[in-house]
Symmetry: C2
Subunit: 491 residues, 2 copies
């Protein structure tokens, strides 16, 4: 190496200049969040901005200041919108400024939580312990933070597969299965469960889609019938997935009834609680989640209703040993020691797919300590109240209707002045949705229930206020009437 590059690093050449830039960045960021309400919920990325992202990778350094300037011009003005008080699309959280600062500190320390004797693992063990206590899981159950609900469900279903298959799936693979292995969930279960079942090699067809009741919860008699039919046909049922908050309508399956059934039928009881599990913190939801503490495994998300910045999911498994048996490999170069860096019993890599794991526990730890669980409970309860409030606005308005019961914080509704067929209503609402988004008014999403297209708001938003829902109801009716008038004129 020559003298010029001998002492080159990726560290700043001038630390004070980096310090000054860091100050600008946090100032800009705090102002950005402080003023988010004043800006449109969303706006499309202009073509000329989008075109900037076709450029090849630079060979030469631009330096941090110039890169930040480019960020300010081309990236910062075009957020997805889920930080905004009137974003209710899909199902997302807002994040918080202190949560973002925690992510910064996590990246500064930059530890790897695969395992070992360093403090970050203790932080993760603590927050996983908090989740266990929150859901009523025993202290000796296992768990780890993961990227989100998809991975949390994948982990739970992997343990279910390996534990209930009745043979050594890890070594032999599913081709050795004497009988087809089957998994059960309602037709409303989140699609990531199907993806997990497919990836685990069980085959998408082994996920039985059980019919739902009028309130979109799983039909227990249909489930029992499916189990009986499969057993009669020579299948080996291994697992039932209960939904604690479905993505379409927020329906919560009868978890106690599912726990009873799984106990009786000796099945693994997995709960997809990505949407609703953390609502045990809210007094107005908690009773409906009874039975979640009896699950064999639960998937929950902290980047949704707990507003920890992406990504932060969590999986809990009642039988720690079954969990470890599914994932631990522990080759020699990762052998666990009694002294030094590789010491300690906290080897999260033995409980999941990842070996290198970021310090996502820090933002969970800092967020929960900043606010305390009670405040999270109040925020969640308020979102549920806001859904009820908006539901009443819809019911009071003769030209609007609800398409599903309001279970948690999700409202499915539409403008329906009468006299329009389903095809017209569908086209109308697609246009209403686009205009709400394009005008920056609000960001609902949509779904189809019993073949009827409707708007859908999922209120996992700590910034939403009552008047935001007044505005939404008003604007949907206004846009609906405008568009119907246009349709009539053009017809």
């Amino acid at each position: 190496m020559n003298d010029e590059t001998r002492y080159e690093t990726l560290d700043p050449e001038d630390w004070d200049k980096m310090r000054a830039l860091a100050h600008r960045m946090v100032d800009d960021a705090v102002t950005y969040l402080e003023t988010v309400r004043e800006r449109p919920v969303w706006q499309p990325v202009p073509d000329e901005v989008a075109a900037r992202f076709d450029a090849p990778a630079p060979e030469k350094p631009a330096g941090a200041d110039a890169v930040y300037q480019e960020f300010l011009e081309s990236i910062f003005p075009y957020p997805m919108g889920n930080i905004h008080p009137r974003f209710w699309a899909w199902y997302m959280g807002n994040g918080t400024v202190f949560g973002a600062l925690a992510d910064f500190m996590a990246a500064v320390m930059n530890p790897n939580l695969g395992g070992g004797n360093h403090v970050a693992n203790l932080v993760e063990a603590q927050v996983v312990g908090w989740m266990k206590a929150m859901l009523g899981f025993p202290p000796d159950s296992s768990g780890l933070l993961v990227s989100g609900g998809s991975m949390a469900n994948f982990v739970g279903l992997a343990v279910a597969r390996n534990t209930k298959a009745g043979f050594d799936v890890r070594e032999l693979g599913l081709r050795a299965a004497p009988q087809p292995l089957t998994v059960y969930a309602s037709t409303e279960v989140h699609s990531c469960n199907r993806k997990a079942v497919e990836l685990l090699g069980l085959g998408g067809g082994s996920l039985r889609n059980v019919a739902v009741n009028e309130d979109f919860t799983i039909d227990l008699r249909a489930l029992e019938a499916a189990l009986a039919a499969d057993r009669a046909a020579g299948c080996r049922p291994i697992c039932v997935i209960g939904s604690a908050g479905t993505v379409n309508t927020g329906a919560v399956d009868d978890l106690n009834a599912l726990a009873d059934l799984c106990k009786r039928e000796e099945l693994w009881f997995h709960v997809d609680g990505a949407i609703g599990a953390v609502a045990v913190l809210a007094e107005n939801v908690k009773p409906r989640l009874r039975g979640i503490e009896r699950a064999d495994s639960v998937a929950l998300d902290l980047h949704k209703w707990m507003h920890v910045p992406f990504e932060a999911g969590c999986v809990l498994v009642r039988q720690a040993e079954a969990h470890r048996r599914t994932f631990a490999l522990t080759p020699e170069y990762l052998e666990h020691e009694s002294r030094g860096l590789a010491a300690g019993h906290l080897w999260f890599s033995d409980y999941g797919l990842q070996l290198s794991r970021q310090f996502r526990a820090l933002k969970v730890w800092m967020s929960i300590k900043e606010h305390g669980l009670e405040r999270f409970g109040r925020m969640i309860a308020r979102n549920v109240e806001q859904a009820q409030y908006f539901g009443r606005l819809v019911e009071k308005e003769p030209d609007m209707e609800l398409l599903a019961p309001i279970s948690l914080d999700i409202v499915c509704f539409r403008f329906n002045p009468g006299g329009l067929d389903e095809k017209t209503l569908s086209a109308l609402h697609k246009e209403i949705l686009m205009q709400l988004q394009e005008r920056g008014i609000a960001a609902p999403s949509y779904t189809t229930l019993h073949g009827r297209y409707c708007l859908r708001i999922a209120i996992a938003n700590h910034r939403s206020r009552q008047d935001d829902f007044d505005a939404l109801a008003r604007d949907v009716v206004r846009l609906g009437r405008e568009l119907v008038a246009q349709f009539h004129r053009s017809a």
Copy 2:
């Protein structure tokens, strides 16, 4: 809701106070990294500190300032150590301060890169495009950022499974496989590939461990023999995994030869390049990676030798359609639109396990722009030179020996003054390793090669200087001699 909680949010009550705290945090963080060399590489977490992490979740808010104070006292002083210039354990990067600031900004914007029309997806598409260009993959290949090498390998192997099985694995599952499906890799392949094969339901036994040559690269004749034997036994080989940098010794398989073989045998060619793929940027490594551009899929890590903070891995798949066919579900509530928030063709959730995806692309984008690819190439090349330099120190010292050829940036070595049996040498080096770590001198790890326990340094470190290796060589010999003298005294 009552008046007290009507306007409560998770936002700061006092934005200026949060601004002031944010300034303190970035000052502390910049100083922490500026002065990292002055501190010990690692120190154990004291018991009284560890005990603090047994506390239950707080019900009441502590406020951001108090939480940060607790962070400063209980967490910040106990990093893993991989930010330090003399950390060479396992295989990790250091991170950078601007990379950490990028993570902060990503969390402030907090978008979800599952898909849709917002700028974050363009950033990810751009950096994935950079990776394609870097490795010589065609522009119409697909790819996405993932949590790291484990997930990148999992994705590549999932596509391999579904594409080469010869039947509809997604729907039918592996029980429907007419023949056992088999996968091939050297005995030195990273364990995460075994984990992936197990999770995918293929069975760990279907991963054939092929013998290696003296230089720890895969033995091509052994591989051909294994393929022939399996075909003769009625198996269906589907995939060969080449290692571009093994974790034990940094060995790079002959990728062109593997590509030829896979073409001839109609197998999927996956490359685990978590360690070495990014070394195509370094002139002194690039020639040895020839053939990587012919892979069907490649796993690479940016949080290792590119020093992007955890987590940042990437997977590339030559046939975008095969990639999408493995993962896309696209249920209606995620249907892709031509207008609005859900518009655009960039739906990364169609190419991986996760639906909610953080803006990890930003730290990759900001890091590569800050430094330019040439500088990363120089940093990587220097680490390889440092490995060679340390190898020469070992060879010059009569009481030390190398245990494996130095391929990339990994050196396996030991103190061996002669006259000690393997058992004693093993005990001796376990103690040398502990003392190096416990005294905060350096953090190597260890491995066992041909039954011989040895120290191992993996120099993916932009902060390491030549004198750090002088110090390591000196201290290993010094500690070795001290310990041998103690052994003799106590014997």
